[in-house]
Amino acid sequence: MEGAVLRLEGIRAGYGDFQALFDVGLTVSPGEAVGVVGPNGAGKTTLLRVISGMLRPKAGTARFGETDIAATPAHVLPAVGIAHVPENRRLFPHLTVEENLKVGAYIPAARKRFAERCAYVYDMFPRLKERRHQLAGTMSGGEQQMCAIGRALMCSPRILLLDEPSAGLAPLVVAQVFELVLRIRGEGLTVLIVEQNVAQVLRVVDRAYVLDAGHVVAEGTSAALAADPAIRSAFLGGH
């Protein structure tokens, strides 16, 4: 599939009376890897939910290629090419690894290519292949993360949204996860990662936005952001 540009402009979104995002805009071009960083509660997860259709914005535009995201039902977006790996993985713990992947391949186009995509995912995550008939809920955090990413890849997405992939994982595992992201990236897939672990994510993305209390407060290449003293002190602590 051809690449498409993800473009958000002036997004306002929230939950009930609580507004989480104020005039947020971002762009992700095909093949890019972009990060969204910021402290807890900045609205990073809300942002991804707007993109994957789980939350309707109150104002602003969100387009992926030709598709108006806000006007499309959420369950249609995977067919359009948007895959979202939610915060905390959200696997189906009572289903096996392979069954989780199967749900990931629900859309008709993916069903046709199930065997092929399965092979691709198992190739990328050999540990998943070993555990293909194991209940997803019994796996370790890192394995679950791989399974969640694998599940999202089953529909051959054009853009992969990753919500805090490092959450709750040991540092060694976190490093492995980001290695994987690099690899996925290397195969040409567009990636948008939301992360609190700024140091790690800046190593794998080209550009990043900094989100704080629902506002985009900074934007730039990862090199520029990593070098910026304000960013360093706010997020990188003593690193």
Binding site: A74, H75, P86, F92
Partner: protein
Amino acid sequence: MDPFLLEAIVNGILLGGVFALPVLGLNLVFGVVDVVWLCYAELVMVGMYCVWFLYTQAGFPLALAFLTCLPVVGLLGLLLHQLVVRPLLNSPPITQVLATGGVIFVLQGSAMLAFGTDFRSLGVEMPPIEVQDIFISGTKLVAFVAALLGAGALWTFLKFTYVGTAIRAIARDREVMPLMGVDPKRIYMVASAIGGGLAGLAACLLVVQLDVHPYIGLSFGPITFMICVMGGLGNMLGGFLAAFLMGVIVSTGGFWWNTEMSYVVAFACFIVVMFARPRGLFAR
């Protein structure tokens, strides 16, 4: 072992097979849509009337009457969801349950209007089968086998198809389903239709054993709920096992006292189980 007691136990297991289908249907709908169809027994009643009508009034062969009943009640299940449940999906759970309770009157009233209050019999009789001194009800045995087949078909569907796997998934995490391209509304519809279909299958099994009348739902409805709750609401396997357990309790209770008291015992057992395991014997 006293052959009569053995007979009661065997018949109890067979009875459990009959309970199992409505229990599976109720648990399926509850697990997916999160609503208890209070009127489930009345859906079965409609199915029973359907078979009776087609066979005795419209001259259908029995097998065809059975086959027609399944999609008819399946459609009824779907309509129940679309017209009654769906508008209330964002309301407190109890209003959803009560709305299906209202449908009880709708279905009972409709049955009365259409067929009157007389008891209707299918007129099909199967002789008891004798196995080593104990008599097994022939109709119950056939019902049992059919129930197992139905349960098996359901299991196969849930285990191996995409929609079935999605149904199993949505029971645990509804919110995340659209991310994989699954439209929850569609899944609810499928689950409701299958729930109705299972009620239809149960109807086929029951109509050969019982005479149908508009209030027949009241005789097996409450116990079906008991079984579901005993097995853990939404737990298909738990409900399935609990059905057989209840069947044996009712049957052996009937052996020791009489049929009526056996139901009292069964209900009392249910209450005791609830206190011992508030989430059901095999809770999710």
